[in-house]
C-alpha cells in the first residue's frame, strides 16, 4: 500500500537532492536545473495532497499548474540572464559571479 507519506518522503528526497545541486554546483545552468528539480518535487507534494486529502477539489493540481507556469517563465528568464552574463564575462560559473559585492 503506497500512502501519502511515501510520496512526501520521495518528494523530500528529490527536493533535497535538488537543493544540494543548487548549492554545490558551479555551473549556473546546473543551478537552474536543480531548481527545476526542486520545483517538481514541490509539485509532487501538491498533487499528492490533492489526491489524498481533497480528491474532489483539484485545487492542488491547479496550484501545480501555476507553479509550472511560473517555473517555465523563471527558467526562460534565468537562462536569458545566464546567456547575457556569459556574453559579458565569458563564464557561466556562479562562483565567478561575485559582483554583488561592489
Amino acid at each position: 500500500m503506497i500512502t501519502l507519506e511515501h510520496y512526501l518522503i520521495l518528494a523530500a528526497v528529490l527536493f533535497c537532492i535538488g537543493l544540494w545541486g543548487a548549492l554545490a554546483k558551479r555551473s549556473a545552468i546546473m543551478v537552474l536545473m536543480s531548481i527545476e528539480l526542486m520545483l517538481n518535487a514541490v509539485n509532487i507534494n501538491l498533487v499528492a495532497f490533492s489526491r489524498f486529502l481533497t480528491p474532489d477539489a483539484l485545487v492542488g493540481q491547479v496550484f501545480a499548474i501555476f507553479v509550472i507556469v511560473v517555473a517555465a517563465a523563471e527558467v526562460a528568464v534565468g537562462l536569458a540572464i545566464v546567456i547575457n552574463i556569459y556574453r559579458e564575462r565569458q563564464t557561466s560559473f556562479v562562483d565567478e559571479f561575485d559582483w554583488l559585492k561592489w
Binding site: 543548487a22 548549492l23 556562479v94 559571479f97 561575485d98 559582483w99 554583488l100 559585492k101
Partner: protein
C-alpha cells in the same frame, strides 16, 4: 486741534509712501509733497500749542486717546495719542525744525540723483519722531524709537557709495541697538510688575510701588536707551561719525529728531527716573560727565561738523543733567532753545560746506566777506550756544545751572560752569577760524541760495528771542506749562547769571586771543600739552577700544564658535556617519557576493529555524 493730533505723524508718513511709490520720478513734486505734509503738521502743532496756552491740556490733565494695536488677554498694546504741554512743545520744535530743514534741503540737495528719496527719508524720519512724541505708552515709544534709528541709518548712509558713510551708519545703528537692548529690557521689567506700558497708568502705579532695587534696575535699563540715542557717554561714539550724512540730516538729527528723543524719553518717564534717588543720580552724572567729555574733545577737533557734533553731545548732557537733578522744566526748555540754535549752526555749517566743499576749519577762512548772512547767523547761533545775555541759550542754560545749584548738586554745578566756559571757547574758535582769518588760496565761496538762507534767518530770529518764553521776565512762560508735579517759576539768581556770562565771555575772549588775534600761538599750546591734545584729539580712544572689543574679542569668539561648529559639532555627527560607514566597510566581507554562499546561509537558517520550531526538545511546537 488736539483731537487732530494723530494727523501730525500720519501726514509725513503718508508723504513718505506717496513719494516712494508714486511720484519718485518727479523731483520737485516729491519735495513739495514732503514740505506740504510737514507744513500742515506744523500748523496743527501750532494749533495745539495755542490750545494748550488756552488751557486745553495740562501736565496733570493730558488729552489721551488710543486704538488697540494688539489686544491679547493680559497684553494690551495701544496706538495712542497723548497730548500734554511737554508733547506740544516737542511737537512744535520737531515740526518747525523739520519744516525748515526740508526747505533748506531743496537748495542744499539740488541736483542730487536721489533727491526724491532723500525727501521721502526726511518725511519718514519726521514721522517716526512725531509718532514717538505723541506716544502714550512705552511700547509705542519703543516702536518709533527704533524707526527713528532706522531713518538715521538710512540718512547717515545716504551717500552709500562712500565707505566711511556706510561704516558710520552701521555704527550708529548698532550703537543704538545696544541702547534699545536696555530700553526693551527696562520696559519688560515695567510690564512684568505693572502689566501695562501706558505712561499714565505707570505714573499712577510707580509711586505706590516700593521695591527700590527693582525700580532702580528698571530705571537704569530704560535709561540705557537715552544714553545711546542721545549720544551720552559711553554710547556716544556714533554721533561724530553720523556727520557722514548730508548736512541737513545732521541738523535734523542733532536739533530735532534723533538725539532729542532720548531727552524726551527721560522727560516722559520722569516719574520712573525720579522714583529712586540712585536713578536720578545716574541720569544727572551721565549727563554731566558726557557734557564734560564732549566739551573737552570739541576743544581740539578741526572738522566743523565734528565740533558741532560734540557740542550737541555736550548740550544733551546738560539737558539730562537738568532732568537728573529734578528740573523737567529746565531740561525741556534747554532742549527747545537748543533745537533752534543747533539747527541754525548746522544749517549754517551746511551752507559753508556747500560753498567751500570742505569740512576742515583750518582749510577755510575769511568767509565773512563772501557769505555775510551765513556769518552773522552763525555768530548769533554761537552766542546763543555760549549763553550770552540775552540770547536764548543764556536763559535756558542759566535755568539748568540754577536748578543744579538749588538742588545742592554743587559738583555738577561746577562741572556745568566749566563746560559753559569750554563751550564758548570752542564755538568761537570755530567762528574765528572760519569766518575771520585769511582766505586760503583758491577759495571761491559765495552766499547760498534763498531756500537755504531764509531758514537760517528764521532760526536766528528764534535763537535770539525764544529764550524769553522761559525767562524769569515773563509771568506765565514755558515753566507754567511744562513741569513735574507743580510749576516752578524760575527765580532769577543774579550771581549765577553774572558768573556764567563772565565765564562765557572769558571763553570767547580766549578764543579771540588764540585764533582771532593770534597773540597766543595755538601750535605752541599744542606742543606744550601734546599728550593731552593727542588724547582729546583721538576722543579718549573710546572708538578704538570698542573696535578692539569687536575685532579682537567678539570676532575671535565667533570664529572659535564657527570652528567648533564646523569641526566639533559637525565632526561628531559626521563622525557618527563615518563610523557607520567604517563598520559597513568591515562587515561587508561577510557578504561574499557569491550567490551560492547566500543560498547556503539562507537554507542553513531555514534548517536552524526548523530545528527550533519542529523539535520538541528545543522548544518546538
Amino acid at each position: 486741534m488736539i483731537e487732530n493730533a494723530w494727523l501730525i505723524p500720519v501726514l509725513p508718513a503718508v508723504a513718505f509712501v506717496v513719494i516712494v511709490f508714486l511720484i519718485r520720478q518727479f523731483k520737485m513734486l516729491s519735495a513739495l509733497t514732503a514740505i506740504a505734509a510737514m507744513a500742515v503738521s506744523f500748523i496743527i502743532s501750532v494749533g495745539i500749542v495755542w490750545e494748550i496756552i488756552q488751557g486745553g491740556a495740562t501736565m496733570k490733565k493730558p488729552v489721551e486717546y488710543f486704538v488697540n494695536w494688539l489686544d491679547l488677554p493680559g497684553l494690551n498694546i495701544q496706538a495712542g495719542i497723548l497730548i500734554d504741554p511737554l508733547a506740544a512743545a516737542m511737537l512744535f520744535v520737531v515740526t518747525f525744525v523739520a519744516l525748515l530743514v526740508m526747505i533748506y534741503s531743496v537748495g542744499y540737495m539740488h541736483g542730487d540723483p536721489g533727491f526724491s528719496v532723500f525727501f521721502s527719508y526726511l518725511s519718514l524720519f519726521s514721522a517716526s519722531m512725531l509718532g514717538l512724541v505723541v506716544a502714550n505708552n512705552y511700547f509705542q515709544m519703543f516702536f518709533f524709537w527704533e524707526l527713528v534709528g532706522l531713518c538715521s541709518y538710512l540718512l547717515i548712509g545716504y551717500y552709500f557709495h562712500k565707505p566711511s558713510a556706510v561704516q558710520a551708519n552701521k555704527k550708529a545703528f548698532i550703537t543704538n541697538r545696544w541702547g534699545d537692548f536696555g530700553f526693551m529690557l527696562g520696559i519688560f521689567f515695567l510690564f512684568l510688575v505693572f502689566g501695562t506700558f501706558n505712561f499714565g497708568e505707570l505714573a499712577k502705579a510707580i509711586p505706590k510701588y516700593d521695591n527700590v532695587a527693582f525700580l532702580t534696575l528698571a530705571g537704569i535699563l530704560v535709561f540705557i536707551g537715552p544714553i545711546a540715542k542721545s549720544a551720552q557717554f559711553p554710547l556716544h561714539v556714533w554721533l561724530p561719525d553720523a556727520m557722514e550724512g548730508p548736512t541737513p540730516v545732521s541738523a535734523l538729527i542733532h536739533a530735532a529728531t534723533m538725539v532729542a528723543a532720548g531727552v524726551y524719553l527721560v522727560a516722559r518717564g520722569f516719574v520712573l527716573f525720579h522714583s529712586v534717588e540712585t536713578v536720578a543720580l545716574v541720569v544727572a552724572w551721565v549727563g554731566g560727565l558726557s557734557a564734560l567729555i564732549a566739551a573737552t574733545i570739541a576743544l581740539v577737533q578741526d572738522d566743523c561738523k565734528r565740533i558741532m557734533a560734540f557740542s550737541t553731545m555736550s548740550q544733551l548732557g546738560y539737558m539730562l543733567m537738568a532732568l537728573g537733578v529734578g528740573s523737567l522744566t529746565a531740561g525741556m526748555f534747554h532742549l527747545t532753545t537748543h533745537a533752534f540754535f543747533k539747527a541754525l549752526m548746522f544749517l549754517a555749517a551746511g551752507s559753508v560746506i556747500h560753498a567751500t566743499h570742505k569740512q576742515n576749519i583750518f582749510e577755510m577762512g575769511g568767509l565773512r566777506k563772501s557769505m555775510p548772512i551765513t556769518t552773522w547767523t552763525t555768530v548769533i547761533g554761537a552766542l546763543a550756544l555760549a549763553g550770552i545775555f540775552p540770547l536764548a541759550g543764556f536763559w535756558s542754560k542759566d535755568e539748568i545751572l540754577v536748578a543744579a545749584y538749588t538742588e545742592g548738586a554743587y559738583a555738577l554745578f561746577g562741572l556745568a560752569s566749566l563746560v559753559a566756559f569750554m563751550t564758548a571757547f570752542y564755538m568761537f574758535r570755530m567762528v574765528f577760524v572760519v569766518f575771520w582769518g585769511d582766505e586760503p588760496e583758491g577759495q571761491h565761496a559765495h552766499e547760498s541760495p534763498l531756500t537755504m538762507t531764509i531758514p537760517l534767518i528764521i532760526l536766528a530770529f528764534f535763537s535770539i528771542f525764544s529764550g524769553f518764553i522761559g525767562s524769569p521776565l515773563v509771568e506765565t512762560g514755558f515753566f507754567s506749562y511744562v513741569y513735574y508735579k507743580y510749576p516752578h517759576p524760575p527765580e532769577p539768581n543774579y550771581m549765577i547769571m553774572i558768573s556764567s556770562t563772565v565765564l562765557a565771555l572769558a571763553g570767547i575772549g580766549l578764543a579771540w586771543l588764540i585764533y582771532g588775534k593770534k597773540s597766543i600761538s595755538a601750535e605752541a599750546l599744542k606742543q606744550r600739552f601734546q599728550p593731552i591734545h593727542t588724547l582729546l584729539y583721538n576722543k579718549f580712544y573710546i572708538d578704538e577700544l570698542y573696535l578692539w572689543l569687536f575685532d579682537k574679542v567678539m570676532l575671535n569668539i565667533s570664529t572659535a564658535f564657527n570652528w567648533n561648529d564646523r569641526h566639533i559639532v559637525d565632526g561628531i555627527f559626521d563622525g557618527i556617519g563615518d563610523l557607520t560607514r567604517a563598520a559597513g566597510a568591515r562587515l561587508r566581507f561577510i557578504h561574499t557576493g557569491s550567490l551560492q554562499n547566500y543560498a547556503l546561509v539562507i537554507f542553513a537558517a531555514v534548517v536552524i529555524i526548523m530545528l527550533w520550531m519542529a523539535v520538541p526538545a528545543l522548544g518546538g511546537i
